[in-house]
Each structure stands twice: as structure tokens, then as C-alpha cells.
Point group: C2
């Protein structure tokens, strides 16, 4: 059976393991803090690759940042990673084929092949974490766009410049739907700069009404965004993944979305491919 040496490169952690062509993880998951210099990142990758490349058919890298349409390089900037990250020559790191894909796109592909959107030829995946990632599948293919950068959930929630987004623009969906957004909602609604996302989640668990209102406001903004995406894509389903997804009321969300769209009823689902869906998805893509 064919295998991939898989990596997931994020701003904080780098994960690595071996994954087979059915999407199964077949070796230990190794975990590293993301090095702070370009050289130490490439050294880490080289070391892992030299250790394992003889055992695999391909090197599959899920990474932060947009990946070009030939799946060979990161394009543009990747906020949380060291500057110059997009200049790394990934191909030169191995004698085997090296295949890159954006982490959210990779996770969406894992959901499509073995997870919540399995069998859905049109789906939208939203990863709700510190930020918001997006991966869109249309006619059983990843939506990449002309340069590979498609699927960015930076559509506007207001037209009149209220909240600065991490991308440098204003009022993107990301800055109303992320974990960061939940903290900003709490700051604004409680007029308290020190409140944390955890305070809100904890308060909700204890039945604190103010905190419940804050969570509902945040969830409603996510619903507003999903309605727009469902009207644009008419997808079979919308999949929510990421650490913040567990805090939404998925059934209430599905009911509200479907009561207010012009397209056809759409399932809203929690992701099922697990924490390593990025590595699984990119391996399945690389082994295609």
C-alpha cells in the first residue's frame, strides 16, 4: 500500500507522521514547536525526511498559507510563520515527490474522502480556531482559483469599517467568527479588555446569561456568513471544524440557516476526520 510522509506546518506547531493511501495514520505522531528561523524550519523538515523518506512514496505537506496550483510552493504571506517562509524550495528537500496544500484545503479534502462531507460533491468547510480557515469542494475537486488562493473567508460582515481583521482589511468574516472574534465580542459587550474566550465558554457552562448572550451573538455572526455561502454555493453540506466548532449549537444553526436561504436545504455538520485531518487530507491528495 502506498504511503506518504505527512507534515502539518502551522505557526505554533509542526506535526509529522506516516499516512497510507486509505487515510490511516500508520506511525507515531511527532510534534515540534515551529522554529523561529527559516534555516531551522528547513533543517527540521530535512531531518524528518531523511529519517523516513525511504519508507514512503511521497512527501505531503499541509501548510499555513496559500499554495500554488502546481502544489509546489507557498504563495504570498503567512502571517504566523517566519518571514521568507514562502521562499523555501520544498521540492529540493527530498528525492521523492513533494506535494503541498493549504492546511484548511487539506482538512476539507479529508472530510470529503473519509469524514463529514464524504460523498458530497459540493461542500464548504469552515475551520473555526484562533482564525478562520476555509476549504471548498466543487464537483469533487478543491476550489483553488487562478493562483491557488481561493477559499479565503474574508468576505465582509459590515461595509463601514468597524473591526480590523488580522489580514489588514476590515470586517472580514474571520474577525467575527474566530476564537479571537468571540473575545472581541466579549470585550465590546462587557466593556472589559481583560475578558478571555475561556471566560465566555466557562460562563456559558455555568449558565451566566451575559456570557450566553455573547456566545449567541458570535454564533449568529457565523450563521450570517454561512447563509451567504449557502446562497452562493448551494452546497450539499457545510462542515465546521477547529477548536471553536464544539461551542456552536449545530442543530440550531442548521435550522436557522435553512429558514432563510434562497437555495435548497443544506446540512450543517461537525467535522469527523479528527485533529490530524490536515495531514490525512494532504496525504490523500498527494497519493491521488
Amino acid at each position: 500500500m502506498k504511503k506518504a510522509l505527512a507534515f502539518d506546518i502551522g505557526g505554533t506547531k509542526i506535526y509529522s507522521t506516516i499516512i497510507d493511501e486509505t487515510g490511516e495514520i500508520v506511525s507515531e505522531i511527532e510534534k515540534f514547536s515551529t522554529p523561529k528561523t527559516l534555516k531551522s524550519i528547513t533543517d527540521l523538515l530535512k531531518e524528518q525526511i531523511s529519517k523516513y523518506e525511504s519508507k514512503v512514496d511521497v512527501i505531503a505537506i499541509a501548510t499555513a498559507g496559500a499554495v500554488n496550483n502546481s502544489n509546489s510552493a507557498v504563495i504570498g504571506s503567512t502571517g504566523n510563520l517566519v518571514s521568507g517562509y514562502n521562499t523555501i524550495n520544498f521540492k529540493s528537500l527530498s528525492t521523492k515527490k513533494v506535494f503541498l496544500e493549504n492546511d484548511a484545503n487539506s482538512a476539507a479534502w479529508a472530510e470529503y474522502k473519509i469524514g463529514a462531507s464524504k460523498g458530497s460533491s459540493v461542500s464548504v468547510m469552515l475551520t473555526l480556531g484562533t482564525g478562520v480557515g476555509g476549504g471548498i469542494i466543487i464537483n469533487d475537486k478543491l476550489l483553488k482559483g487562478k493562483s491557488g488562493a481561493a477559499g479565503e473567508m474574508h468576505f465582509k460582515m459590515y461595509p463601514d469599517k468597524r473591526r480590523k481583521c488580522t489580514c489588514g482589511s476590515w470586517d472580514c468574516f474571520e474577525i467575527y467568527a474566530s476564537g479571537t472574534a468571540l473575545k472581541l465580542d466579549a470585550e465590546e459587550m462587557l466593556n472589559n479588555k481583560n475578558v478571555t474566550t475561556y471566560d465566555v465558554i466557562d460562563g456559558v457552562k455555568q449558565g451566566n446569561e451575559k456570557m450566553i448572550n455573547i456566545l449567541n451573538k458570535w454564533q449568529n455572526d457565523i450563521i450570517i456568513g454561512i447563509k451567504g455561502l449557502v446562497n452562493i454555493f448551494d452546497p450539499d453540506c457545510v462542515v465546521l471544524s477547529g477548536s471553536m466548532a464544539e461551542f456552536v449549537d449545530i442543530k440550531a444553526m442548521e435550522k436557522e440557516v435553512n429558514s432563510d436561504i434562497v437555495t435548497s436545504p443544506t446540512a450543517i455538520k461537525l467535522a469527523e476526520a479528527g485533529n490530524y485531518s490536515g495531514m490525512i487530507g494532504v496525504s490523500l491528495l498527494a497519493l491521488l
Copy 2:
């Protein structure tokens, strides 16, 4: 050369002509007021079809409303057309193949085959008229979604219920980017219910500063929507068509969009396939 008997069925007018496989209009354009009963619409179609079907290979109908994925029927409601329009059995109207597609999708296909987005494998077309239509092409295919209803430009411009959209929901792009929206902007900014879209256009031509501000506000809302679409699709280009498209400053729009997106530079273009792009596009699709 293969030919289609083409129709464009809208809420006000029905057009009909013959179009060949290169997209050329090869007979006179006939124009009718849209009848107000179901029977009189089908009678009109039957009459035209019986007159011309022996001369063509296929009947190609661009229509208001979403069209299913087998291009045989209208699904859901079509605001401006007689109730029950979606129950018409179009296939039964001719012994030849009958092929339907949504009018905005058809026009987008015409732009892709012979117009402004020719050669662009990913594009978004917005039709700015009384309402707003959308047609999206991805990997050289129309985006249809699971039921055929994709491409609806009903994503939200505000999350908090300000302006009711014609679809029944709130604050959709359509109700900020259409001709109707320009009138609503003028009503709000001048506090005058009687001002018309024409008053604004006329005032702008005369250099009236208030009217220029209103037009700019409307154009800015369109820009806000386009930024979101460009971040989602990373398209080669965005094409603006429809009667209101001539009032936007397309160069200023392109500059502003490209200064504020996370994907890659995108051309903004005016449509080039002409007033009958719906009939041309659906004919080219039907003759594929």
C-alpha cells in the same frame, strides 16, 4: 452548422431568436410582453416553437429562476413570473431537445465563450439591473451546486437587519448593489421617498455633489461585495453586466478591490457579449 431556437424569459419581456453554434444571432429578434397566465406563456412558447423548430437542432431557454442540474425544469419560485411557472413541462413543448438554464448563468457562459471573460477558467459575473444576478464559472464549468441554484448573490452586507431584500431575507448584497438599491440609498441619504434612480444618474451627470455621494456609496457597497467574492474564488476576473453596470467607475473599482484582498490581483471588466447574452449563452450550452 448547428442552431438553437433561443428564448429569454423574464418577468417583463420574452425574447426569441435563432442562434448558431458560434454564438451568432442568425434571425430577427422577436420580443413579447410576458403573458400574465401560465397557459398564455406556454401557448406563446408553443407557437414560436412550432414556427421554427424544424430549422433548429435544439430549443434553448434562458429563464428567470434557478434551473435544475439536468437543465429540464425551473426549481423554486421566480418572483416576477406567474405563480406555477416552475410547473411548466418544458420538455413537452417540442420534439427536439429542450435545454434550460438560468438567465444570469447563461449570460455568464456567453461572456466566458465569446465575451469579457473569454479564456478565464475562473470568473464571477454580476448582473446589475433592477435586481442582481450572478453566474460563476469554475474550472471552465458553470457552478450549479447540488440542486442547480448556486450563484445567488444573497450574502449579507450587515448582520443586523437593516434593509429587507426582495428575497424576503435581510441585507443581501442584491439590495445594496441593484438599481433598486441605488434608489433606496438616495431615499435614505436625501430623506425623500420620491427620488428615483434616474434622478441620481441625471444629477451625477450634472455634477450634483449630493447625487455623486449617493452613487459613490452605492458603488462602494458593490466593491465591498466584490472583495468578498474575490477572496472566496480567487477568480481571473469579475464581469459586470446589466443596465446599471454602465454607471460604475470600473477602473476605480478594480484599483480599490485589488488594494484590499488576500488573494491575487483580479481584473474587473464590463460585459461584452451584449444585450442578448442570455440567449447566446444558453444556446452555446445547449449545443455543447
